[in-house]
Structure formats: structure tokens, C-alpha cells
């Protein structure tokens, strides 16, 4: 018997994805991205300097921070600012977002400035990190457009799109874009980050229960590739607006 997805979603179907640009006023790029009930606010802030280890290099930097509002989740979690430190999970995710975005940035072309990507989860229903990467790219793109419009950059340092999706084996079936309930039920959970051109940037697969076979891994990678191609199309469409 097959696992029943919410809303009669097909196994290879993304949740409803919505990308709202200009969601807040002040940031150079500000995007609310929704993967079903998961909602992440991604802002891109331009700072005209780089961290100490990059100074004088001529090259820029792209970095990310991730957070979750305490009641984004089913039960309230502690506020990290109040506890006085970010969890290992938070650090892992923000490092992943930063690496993913840098993979499609020509840092030399960016010049000695930093783009800070802040990905804050307003509502969580699985896939917050993949939504964050997908939305952060759009926010970064808007921030770059601001720099281009202001004449601070002559050409875009963005070399390609980047987007991410989760895939998982649930009761023997490969499913695309897991929500929270599906994520809790899955045996293998994989987050895949790919470029617009279809190259892999990150592949992170974890066996939750039993170890997984090469054939399962292959099926999951195929599914992710298809989902990411759709996400990249949606990113590009969103950039056409306004």
C-alpha cells in the first residue's frame, strides 16, 4: 500500500510554490517563499565591506544566516537568542545556504562587498532549508539588480540559478518535496541543491531508519533533478514580474 500524500499530491509533484518579491521594504532583496505551508522570509542585504579574512583580496563574499521564529513549529521551540547560542542544526543549515549561493557567484566580479542572506522561517512544514536556498537566490538576484541599477556593478556576478528540494523514500516510494508529516515518516531523507544548468552543488542524503540502496539513491536523485528544474523555472518567472 502506498503512502497517501496531503491534498492528493502525486509522488513527483512539488507543493504549491509561491515567490513574493519585495516582501519587506528596507532590504536590497526581500522575498517570501512558500513551499505549501512552509514560509521563509529571505532578505539580501548589501554591505560595502568584506569579513577580515577576505580584506584586500579584491573579491567579495556571500554568506547566510538562518533562524526560525519560536512558534514557526507545531510546538514552541526555545528562542536561540534567549538561549545564547545557535543550535548545531541551525549552523549546519546556514553553512549549507551560504555554500549553495556562493556556488553561483563569481566573487571577484562582485567586488569587495558582502551579500548577507537572512533566511527566517515564519512557518515550518518541512523543507525549510530547501525553500530558503531557493528563495535566497531570488533575493540575491534582486540585490544584484539594485547594485547594477546604481552603477556599482557593471555586470552581474551571478553565474547561474541555484535551487534546492528535498526528496525521500516513504514506504518504498520516492517522494518529491516532503512536508513535515512525510519527513517524519520517511526512511531516507535527501536534500539536493542544483544549478539551473543541472549541475549538482550539494547532495546530502541520510538514512533515517535502514540504510538505503544505490538504486534508491538513483531514483531520489532523478526525482530531485526534475523538481529543481521546475523550481528554477518558477524562480525565473518570479523575476519577470514588476
Amino acid at each position: 500500500m502506498t503512502f497517501e500524500r496531503s491534498g492528493q499530491r502525486a509522488a513527483d509533484q512539488l507543493r504549491a510554490v509561491r515567490i513574493t518579491r519585495g516582501y519587506t521594504l528596507h532590504a536590497e532583496g526581500s522575498v517570501l517563499i512558500e513551499f505549501g505551508h512552509t514560509r521563509v522570509l529571505c532578505t539580501a542585504s548589501v554591505e560595502e565591506k568584506v569579513p577580515p579574512h577576505r580584506r584586500g583580496s579584491g573579491a567579495g563574499w556571500v554568506t547566510a544566516e538562518y533562524g526560525m521564529l519560536p512558534r514557526a513549529t507545531h510546538t514552541r521551540s526555545d528562542r536561540e537568542a534567549a538561549r545564547g547560542k545557535q543550535s548545531g542544526r541551525t549552523q549546519e543549515i546556514q553553512r549549507l545556504i551560504g555554500r549553495s549561493l556562493r556556488a553561483v557567484f563569481d566573487l571577484t566580479a562582485l567586488g569587495e562587498r558582502t551579500i548577507h542572506l537572512d533566511c527566517d522561517v515564519l512557518q515550518a512544514d518541512g523543507g525549510t532549508r530547501t525553500a530558503a536556498i531557493t528563495g535566497a537566490w531570488v533575493a540575491a538576484h534582486d540585490a544584484v539588480s539594485t547594485l547594477l541599477a546604481a552603477g556599482k556593478l557593471a555586470a552581474s556576478p551571478i553565474t547561474d540559478a541555484v535551487a534546492a528540494v528535498s526528496v525521500g523514500m516513504v514506504q518504498g516510494e520516492p517522494l518529491l518535496d516532503l512536508d513535515y508529516r512525510e519527513d517524519a515518516a520517511c526512511d531516507t531523507d535527501m536534500n539536493v541543491v542544483m544549478t539551473g544548468a543541472g549541475g549538482f552543488v550539494e547532495v546530502q542524503g541520510t538514512a533515517e531508519g535502514a540504510a538505503f540502496a544505490r538504486s534508491e539513491l538513483d531514483a531520489l536523485l532523478n526525482l530531485a533533478g526534475q523538481g529543481i528544474a521546475e523550481l528554477v523555472a518558477l524562480q525565473r518567472q518570479a523575476l519577470l514580474e514588476k
Copy 2:
């Protein structure tokens, strides 16, 4: 010459206030409150236990935390979770929100449970703490309704409404509900918290430049009283919806 307010607002006029209930899914109460461009997400979470210092008292607890997304502001601020501590300003504000809400709660009637109010600023344009108090009360009200509906409470422990507004002297004129530009220009800044019945819960006035006279203080308190009466009406209206 008089200071010109944005959008030709009158000196005693509130900004456009919008209260959106049920803004996120999981919390027992979830309210987006907007005072003009200021947007604060207020959630109320019920936890069926109390902090150690209240245990066995039979009475409940109401507490608040406050945060600001890094790019809620004109220029990006450091993320408190990453720096590893909350600023003095943050702590001061969240203590104020907690005291204000407890002023209209009968903690014994609440029973041994805690209501956590999380006030997170998505976009800042002055008056975030007063918007937070005003929105948190609506969120708390919704959380109490959930408890009543579930039969966990027989009667509401909320004894009155509570709302807050900022007032300030700008170039000799008392102004209601300052936005960021006005706040930066003002000589005296006052945050006032009052109940629906018109009693004072908190009065916090600070001379930014020169000390202020009793007559100025009186004018500001009058203005605040009028503004809070309007806010309480808006809170009650919001509760009628749905």
C-alpha cells in the same frame, strides 16, 4: 514652523493600523499587527506548565519575548542568536510586554499554565514595542479562546484589554504614534500602556534632548489616552471577525 508628518497625517492621528488574526498556522494565537510600515508578528503559545518559581502556586504565568529580524531595519543589524546574547534594549522591551499583558490577566484564573507571547518584528518603522503590546493582547485573547473552546478554562482570565502607543514632542508639538523619522527628530519620547478602562499600566517618558516640562508631559498623556482608546476599539473590532 511645524514638523510635516508623512502622508499628511494630523498630529493626533494614528498610522493605518491593521490587525490580521490567524496569520500563521500552529500557534494558539497568531496576529500580524501593522502600525503603518511597522509590522510585528505576535504569537501566543500555551504551555501546560509554569516556570519553576511558580510551580505549585496554582497560578499561571504570562511572559513575552521580543526579537527583530536582522533586516527589519534600514541597515542590517546583527542577529542576536549569532552574537550569543540579547541586547539590553531587547530585554527591556520584552520585560515591558510581559508586565503589560500580566496587568490584564488574572493569573489564578489562568491555572498552572504559561502563555508565551513571541513578538517578532518583520519590518520596523518606529513604535515596534507599542505595536507588539497591542498585537500580543489580541493573540493572547485568541489563545484563551482556544482554551475555552477546549474546555480547559471555564471563564476567561483576561480582565480587560491592554494597548500601547508612543507619543512625542517634535519641534514643540505633541505627536501621536511616531514613525522612525519622527522618533529620530523628537525631543521627548514616551511610551504609554493603558487598559481598555483607561487606567495606566506603564508610562515611560524619556527626554532625548532637553528635559521636558510638566505641561508637555500632560499634553502627551492626553494624546496617548486618546490614541489608546482608538487602538482598543480596533482590537475589539478585530476580535469580531471570523
Copy 3:
């Protein structure tokens, strides 16, 4: 029936106030201030530089820190240095002291130097923050005298005196300068900071139980004004000695 004050003090009477200058050796200003049993050591230290955000401005800075010895209180409290952080209450108080003192300082006239005010409570019996402000002003005055005597300043950057007192409604009666027992019993607690010229610098009123009426607020402000006038006279008298 009226609340009975300790030592048959009248409702509008300050506790015995003692200001001892030169209490310790090393600081440029060192004052032990006593409000009855409350004893706070206030030192003013001159540092010939300013914090990073003020550098190159030509203007100086005045800042305060507050602490309480672990057994200043009825039962021992944790040492903040051992716990590894200052409480919200401590930060709130030290921010208040700093703002209050800056209100009577011409920072440009001070030049690019910092005056650090350290207010450490040796014994607590209510009103520690108001005693701290009142004593810190005397310490700051002595530090300025040192700078004048050393020829580092040509004229005093202090523009007026500043002092503070607490007032509160206890069983329907407005009382001046609450001690610990009275503070615990009061319905409304207000800390007021005023200049020698009678201008308000800070007004912080909090309803402990029921919200308070405008008439009560007015009565408390009147009482505070009278008490602060007496405190300023005592500050000036203390400066005449030696």
C-alpha cells in the same frame, strides 16, 4: 486605615540621605550614597578615549554600569559574573543611569573622553536605582572637577544637576522614597528623574496590581518633584564640603 511607614516617616518625607565623597581612593569621583539602609557606591572614572561609535566625533561619552553585591539583599542572589551574564533588570537600570547622566552633560564640551559611572549596591533596601543616579551625579561632578583642576577642561560640561526618587501608591496613599517593604506593598511604583531646574528626564511608572488613574499619576509626579528638589539641595550641599 493608612499604611505605617518605618520610623514614623511622613508620607512625603525622604529617608535619611547621606552623601560621602571621596569614599574610595583611586577613582576621580567616589561617592557613597545612602537612602536610609540603601547604600550604593558610585565611582566616576575618566578614560581618555571614547567607544568606537563615537571616535572622531570630537564629543565625549558618559556611560554607567550597575551591580549588586550578592548579599546586598535579604537573601543571597547569584553573582552575575559567575552566572556569566547580567540580568535584564541590571541592564535596564544601567541604561537608565547612563541616559539620566547624559541628559545633564554637554558631550561636546566634555571632549573625546569617557566618564564611566560604576554604581555598586553594597546594601539594598529599595530605591537602589534612584540612589545610584543621585550619587552618580555627585561622583561625575567630582571627576569633572579633577579634569578642570588638571587643566584638561576649561569649563564644566555639566549643564545642571540630576537626581531621582521613587514614589508609589500604597493603600491609596502616595508615598515618597519607598523602602523595600513599602515597595513590595505598593500598587503603583514610579521612578522619576529630574534636573535641578525641575525638568523631567525620565518618568517610569508601572502598575504593580491594578492600573492607576491619571489623578494618582499627577499626585505621584507632584510628590516626586518635591523630593527631587530636596535631593538636589543635598547634592549641592555635599559639593560644598572639603
Copy 4:
């Protein structure tokens, strides 16, 4: 032209692996594992209780911590204990080790006790996390043998072996078990964790420079599978000794 490996190692050849059991006295399992110049001390400590979130479940817990001596590396790094926090990288690695080991543990069969795996890098030359996982499994096995010998367990809760290796594309060629110099030169870096039965536990691939193609990913996974099979054979051989 092909990248030249140190010591004329073939592209699909592991470095010299040495597993020394009983390396220190006190731990229930204590293994020094060497992958070439990389040396990691892995200890397994049994504690007869579980963390709070597992209490009363009847099931046990397996957890890991990772550290690096300050001068394990080419240039000295700060001591994390002195800086007061573990880096994001450290937390990411220790979470990976913990998950990997739990994948081959029947936690119910372990009973309500914890096995703490401490993996401390004495000398680093690339591949410290994969050496740590491979060595930690041997240490955990020895700790379980101690429990079996003491009659605290009737049957081993270990369901299979687990080992890990890094693979990477260096100048277009897939290489097994990268040392530090190779790791710095590689375009794609992948850490793979597999069971003795050949199932995948974790796959973590990262494009360092250009994104990587599916064919490269496939080649790397094949290489990793072969290397891990050899490592599992070496683990089993090591357990035969003494």
C-alpha cells in the same frame, strides 16, 4: 595531465590504515585510528543513563563529540574550550558521527544507557571525520564487548559495521581517501558513510568549484563503495586481535 598523489598512491587506493585498540586505559573502548598522517583517538564511554529526552523509553542512546587539538593542523587553531564555543564545522561533524553510529545500533537492545563516542584529532591530514567514524565503530564494538562480558547485555545491539571514506574529483579524476593537499585541490568533495552490508547511511557531496555532473557523482559513489568495503574488512581484522 594527471594529479600526482603523495607516495605514488593509485587513484583508487586507501592510505595506510592502522587501527590500534586499547590505546588508552580507562575507556570501555579506545582506538587510535590512522589514515596515513591523520590520527584520531576514538574512545567509547558507557554511562548507565540516557539524556532527559530518552528517559523512561527503555531505549538507549549513542552520541558523539569531536575535537581537534590546537596544533593537530599545519598552523595552530584556537582552542574551542578557550574561545567558549564549538565551531559550526565541529558541530556538523559530531552530529554526523552520532547519526552514522546510531544507524547500526539497535537502541532498544542497548537498554537505557548511553555510549559516548569522543573523537579527538591528534594529527590532521584530511579525512578526519571519515577516520573518526571508522574508528568510533571499533571503539563502540569494544565497549559493547565489555558490556557483554560483564553480563549487562545478553546480545550485541550492533546490527552491522559502519565505516566512512572521502572521495573527490581532482583535475577530472576520481580519487579515493583524500589527504589535505588533495582535498585543497579538489573540485568536488564527498563524504560517504556505508554499512558492512553496503547500504548507504550518509552521502554528503559538495561542489567546491564548478557544479558536478551525475556521471561524476556516480563514479565517486562507486569508488567510495569499494573503499568502504576495504575499511570494513580492516575493522573486522582489527577486532580479531588480542
Copy 5:
């Protein structure tokens, strides 16, 4: 040529020592001890429970904390509570005070309660740790008297007096009870803690410049023994008062 001591003090002469009991109100023991210009407030607080590692042992605990007000010193030092941690020096000193006091306590006779000794330096001029130990013993004695008077203890758990003094070689001459200027000039600095009966509790000697010879060590120990005998006499005299 010989080093000239301040105030024509002889080489083997203590500074003026003053012990003021009952210096603050709330603590069970509260002593201001002065060694010349060094002033330390020592309070002893009784808590009717013991730290976790002592629970159920039937025995009590004696522990100490040490602090220095920011402007106790010639130039202002950072406040440890604000920096968020105690320095290594502070921890070393408070561990020493705790050990010294426990050396003259029969912890079983104390019963399952804790005596907290808080030693806070109001003014520093060398020898703060030795003054702290000497004063803390008097404060502890007063706290024990309170327990005896309240019938909580039938007999005193204090087995002897304990006091401490610093000695040092300055320009080839052994000096007793160094002040700050002498401490800065000395080659060897030794802190000695002894009981009333003349037994050694702690000996901590440090070569500041050249290593020191056994003959110097012997001379310093003799001098310390004489000084401590005088301090114990002063402690006992202080206990006779009131």
C-alpha cells in the same frame, strides 16, 4: 641599599589591620577587613541546602566567591559581569579562599547546609586575597554564631582559626604584607595560609623574576608565620567586641 616601605613600616610589620563586624545588615556574617588601604567586604550567607554533588551526604559545604569592583584599582578594570566571565585570576582566588576556609570546618558537624563566603574588594592596594581569607573567617564565625543562637547547631563546626598573609623578597629583603607598590617591585611573592595552631593550609610561592633559593623560602615562611600569628590574635580580638 634597602627598599623603603610606605609610612616607615618595618620589614616584619603588618599594615594597620581593621576588622569591622556587622558592616552590612542582611548577611549572617558581614565583615569589612582593611589591610592598610586594601578594603574587602566579606559576607557569610547560610543556605539550608548543599550543592548537588553533596546531597544526601549529611555533610555541609563551605564555598567562596571573589570579586573586585571595577574601580577598586588604580585604573578601571572591566566588570566581569559585563564581560560575561570571571577571569582565571578571579577563579584561582575564590578557589583558594574556599579551600582555606574548608580546612578549618568540620563539614559533617555543619550539617547539610552551605556557607557562601562573598569577598568583594572595595579598594585594592595589594594583598586582597589574604585580606579576604582573614576576613572571611570572621564572617563565617559570625554566621556560625547565628546558627548556634538559633539552635540550628549544637556545637560549632569551626575547628580552628585561619588567616593569610603575603610575603615577598624585595631587593634581597624579606618583607611582610606587601602593598601594591611593594608587590610590583618584588622578586618572589608568596601567599601563606595558616591555622591558629600554626599549621600550614596553603603555601603558594612564585618567582616573579629570578628563581628563589631555599634559604629565601625559609625566611619568607618564618616571616609569614609570625604575621599570621598576629592576624589570628586580631581576629580573636575582633570577635570579642559587641
Copy 6:
């Protein structure tokens, strides 16, 4: 009746001491020192700059850090990096190691560079701090040799050897170089640090139970002097190798 030492060691006999130079690859000096079962890895790292408070002085700095692997001990201790701070004991020990090494360094002759000594306990059986000092000196010597060989120093800034040993009174008998079991049984515990020329650098004696007499102190110092002379001979012998 006399206390029986492990392995029929005589009262004045050191444990088997082994000094292995070049224990790890990267550090300028790397020494594994063993005092019986106690094993400490001491590395010396040269950094071509000094801490802020030494800059521009022309002189160098020598500093030490100390750590213990979590399972170096009989039962696992918390990892200090995970707890987020170093214990008071750790700080006390690393300050002692630093002072001891600086006592035999001519910091001016070292030039503006820092030697970092990292002493990490792999296995603990008493005397870890004395082994650390003894081993750190050999590691520092090797680091200096590297600097001499590289022509960065013309002459060695090391003025003498330094070594350390613990001594203690166990059941009335003075014992040299206590192991863990002896340390737990002893009444007086003393750590002594001396130079090759026989001068005292540090003497730290602590009464664990009863206070100790001068005659006991004298006996322990004699024993320590003899033990350290042997250790210095072993250090010198170790430097002859290779």
C-alpha cells in the same frame, strides 16, 4: 604501617618517565611525556606576533593552554568546548604552566613572537600538570631550535631548564611523584617547579585534610628537589636524541 605504592615503587622514586620528541608532525616542538600512566602531549607553536598588550615592546611572549580529553580520566568528564567554558582548575593549571616556562625565557631575546604551549592530557593518572610543565619545556626547546636553525634567532632565549613534580604526605610518609590513587589518599599535596640550577619557580602546597607542619613542608621540598634534578637530567638526555 606504611602505604604501599603501586609496582613496589620506593617513596623517593619517580614513576617511569618517557619523553618522545617529534610525536606529531606539524608543531615546531611536539613531545609526548609519560609519567607512568599519565600521558600528556605537549606542542610548542611559534607565532610571529605577540598579544596586544605586548605589541611594540620588542619582547616576545610564552603562553600555555591545558586540556584534558573527556575520557582521559577514570570516568568521562564533560568536554569543556561543549560546555562553553574552561573550568577554574583548567585555567589555574594553564596559568601555572605559562608562568613556569616564562621563568626560564629571556623574552627580549625571543623577539616579538609568541610560543604557544598546548598541553593536552591523553591519559590521566595523577601529576598531569607537573608532566605538562616538564614536557612543555622540551617542546619549547625544540621550537627554539627550529628558530635557531632557520636563522630567526641568533642565540637561544632559554636561560635554564625547568621541570616540575608533585610530592605529598601519605599516611605520614613523604612520597615523590604521586599517582592518582596516592593523590586521593594524601593529606598534603604539593606541586613544585624548579629550574635546572635548583632555584624555585613555584611552590604550591595544599593541606587536603589536616594542616601540615613546617617539618613536613621541609621534607617535601627536599624530596621534590631531588626528583626535579632527575627530571632535568631526563629532559637533557631526551634532547640528545636524534
